[in-house]
């Protein structure tokens, strides 16, 4: 399904429910702090219809996406709805209006209940999170918007559930962009939610489209296309469906990145076989040249504060990861192990770089951005490529051929223990999906 998701998002209104145990409640810091730990059993009940949702569509959309996202998070295991005892339509949804025993008896540690009201084009959703063990309400949120906003409401609620249990906001109310052949045999640019829903096609030309990049905002996407026969960068405005071609007087633009605030572009420009990085205004106007010489300098990637730039260069004789300060000064080499290290991505706190390295096949590694020992996070498969960090810093999205064809996968990462656990492929399509990138939260 290809859907529009941009214009309606502004209409999504979210209110924290007042009263005991609101969203400001102290998070319970549990032992489920990362990959390798046990996932907490949670029940997500169907929502009660308070009027207008006679087909159960709104309830179904919200609950389906919430279960999907909590499952994908790696922090929860969803208790099968088949085992739920309570009928939501014949019970209350707030504290004191239902029996915790119906949920503790199926071994739920946590419970989400709620109610929906549909009136014309308006959908109201009230969602509540409970700690079954302590028989208390943790927080509640009331959303209102159109029917097409319901899935996004669920993603936002999933992020709040993760915050309530782990102390850190989840990453699902955001956007990913990627390259896919799902429209035929040509590589085109698509946007989606990080759970694989809400697919939106950006390009439709029978050539080659590559390297989608966001600023923190998902309102624009920068990508490379051969649609005129030559490679060029395009800055696509999602809501307006217009775009700007980014040219360079120095040669062919073959790649680029948007600064976190969206005001700047770093472009990789090839001329005479040499590829160097240039800092540009968002309009494409040149500010200054960042690298010089006859080497390859590609894969620019900003740190979240916009102060540092990681990139790949073969100036040493083999492709390696470098970091430079955009305030000036020389580039510093970060990787020394391996002879083919490319495609860096900064962790949101700026302390780590994820990248891909040739080691048999290609695998995902992390390394301290200040330099140090790399840690290999993927082991299997011929090719694991193009890692990109989630806005909350707990996940990497990357592409892998481990399932036969190239698909996008989500991996849970703990930088403290330097471990990673691949959770799942994001989509079940037969197409090849690659080059994922991840925006910041949509609500910010």
């Amino acid at each position: 399904m290809i859907r529009r998701f941009t214009s309606t998002m502004a209409a999504l209104v979210m209110l924290s429910l007042a009263g005991a145990g609101s969203a400001q409640a102290q998070p319970i810091h549990m032992t489920i702090s990362g990959p390798g730990s046990t996932a907490a059993p949670i029940a997500v009940s169907d929502f009660k219809n308070l009027g207008g949702d006679d087909q159960g569509t709104a309830s179904h959309d919200f609950v389906r996406v919430l279960r999907r996202d909590l499952d994908l998070s790696g922090y929860f295991s969803i208790i099968s709805p088949k085992s739920y005892i309570e009928d939501p339509q014949n019970s209350g949804y707030d504290l004191g209006k239902f029996n915790f025993g119906d949920w503790s008896s199926i071994n739920a540690d946590f419970l989400v209940k709620g109610a929906v009201t549909v009136s014309g084009d308006q959908v109201s959703v009230e969602a509540l999170m409970f700690d079954v063990t302590q028989q208390r309400r943790m927080f509640g949120t009331r959303f209102s918007g159109g029917p097409s906003d319901v899935e996004q409401m669920a993603r936002r609620f999933a992020d709040s559930v993760l915050k309530a249990v782990t102390g850190t906001q989840g990453p699902f109310d955001s956007r990913i962009a990627f390259v896919s052949t799902r429209g035929g045999r040509f590589k085109e640019i698509y946007l989606a939610s990080p759970d694989g829903g809400g697919l939106f096609r950006v390009t439709d030309n029978p050539t080659i489209n590559l390297f989608p990049k966001f600023a923190h905002s998902a309102a624009s996407v920068l990508y490379l296309s051969y649609k005129t026969g030559e490679p060029a960068l395009y800055l696509f405005d999602v809501a307006g469906r217009t775009e700007l071609r980014i040219n360079s007087p120095h040669g062919n633009v073959i790649g680029g990145a948007l600064s976190p605030d969206g005001s700047r572009i770093v472009a990789a420009v090839e001329n005479g076989g040499h590829t160097n990085l240039f800092l540009l205004e968002r309009s494409g106007e040149e500010i200054r040249q960042l690298t010089q010489g006859h080497a390859i300098n590609v894969n620019p990637a900003f740190s979240a504060d916009g102060q540092q730039l990681a990139f790949t260069s073969d100036r040493s004789g083999s492709p390696q990861i470098y970091v430079m300060s955009l305030g000036g000064g020389p580039a510093r080499r970060v990787t020394y192990k391996g002879d083919y290290n490319t495609s860096p991505s900064f962790s949101p706190d700026g302390r780590w770089l994820a990248y891909q390295s040739r080691s048999g096949g290609f695998n995902i590694f992390i390394i301290p951005a200040a330099g140090g020992q790399p840690t290999q996070l993927t082991q299997d498969g011929r090719s694991n490529q193009s890692p990109c960090w989630s806005p909350d810093g707990r996940y990497l999205i990357f592409s892998s051929t481990r399932g036969g064809h190239e698909r996008l996968y989500l991996m849970q990462v703990n930088t403290q223990s330097q471990t990673g656990k691949v959770i799942s492929a994001l989509m079940e399509d037969e197409s090849n999906d690659s080059s994922p990138t991840w925006s910041w939260w949509l609500g910010e």
Binding site: G184, D204, P206, T207, P231, I254, T275
Partner: protein, 194 residues
């Protein structure tokens, strides 16, 4: 969707058989262009859902500007190792862009043809195998194309008759994960532009 014709495998641009093969490919191109015409209409119907409608771009028939470029042949579903035209491909070692000794003769032959056909211009395409970063491979393909251009200049072809483009690893002529395939894909392809 248009089905890619299978690669005919085997020799790369071995000269003598080319004329007959070229005639066969023209017929095939016409047939496939008709099929592609149908499928591009379907693409067009989907454009309203999210097409960029941006400036410039591909013409109505969905084909790029350079008649026999690898991108154009890929669009027609005709990209295979046999290539097209009077000039022969050269090949490269993994993650390398230096012209191999055995390819000096190929470039000499290409230079001879260009000297005899002095009104032509040639676009040199750099290509890579399917392994590694897409963006790094575009830069590497650019180095491969430039290496052939520099070599042809030493053989007396003036720079203003040559242009370069890199397609990185995006347009393989062979689609299997084997050493033989990868070796075929690491190539410079030479497209004559009248």
């Amino acid at each position: 969707m248009t089905v890619l014709p299978r690669g005919r495998g085997g020799s790369v641009n071995s000269g003598g058989r080319r004329a007959g093969r070229f005639a066969a490919m023209v017929v095939a191109a016409m047939m496939i262009a008709m099929v592609a015409g149908c499928s591009s209409k379907q693409n067009g119907a989907g454009a309203g859902a999210g097409g960029p409608g941006g400036p410039g771009g591909i013409g109505e028939n969905g084909l790029g500007p350079n008649g026999s470029s690898s991108l154009n042949r890929f669009q027609k579903g005709m990209l295979d190792a046999n290539g097209q035209g009077p000039l022969s491909d050269i090949h490269f070692d993994y993650n390398d862009y230096s012209v191999r000794a055995q390819d000096g003769e190929v470039l000499k032959s290409n230079a001879d043809w260009m000297s005899k056909n002095s009104a032509t211009r040639v676009q040199i395409e750099g290509h890579c195998d399917d392994r590694g970063s897409e963006e790094y491979n575009i830069a590497l393909g650019a180095k491969r194309a430039q290496a052939a251009k520099d070599y042809l200049e030493t053989l007396g072809i003036t720079a203003d008759r040559m242009s370069t483009i890199s397609y990185g690893k995006e347009l393989p002529v062979c689609n299997e994960d084997t050493d033989e395939c990868w070796a075929q894909n690491r190539r410079d392809h030479f497209v004559v532009q009248q």
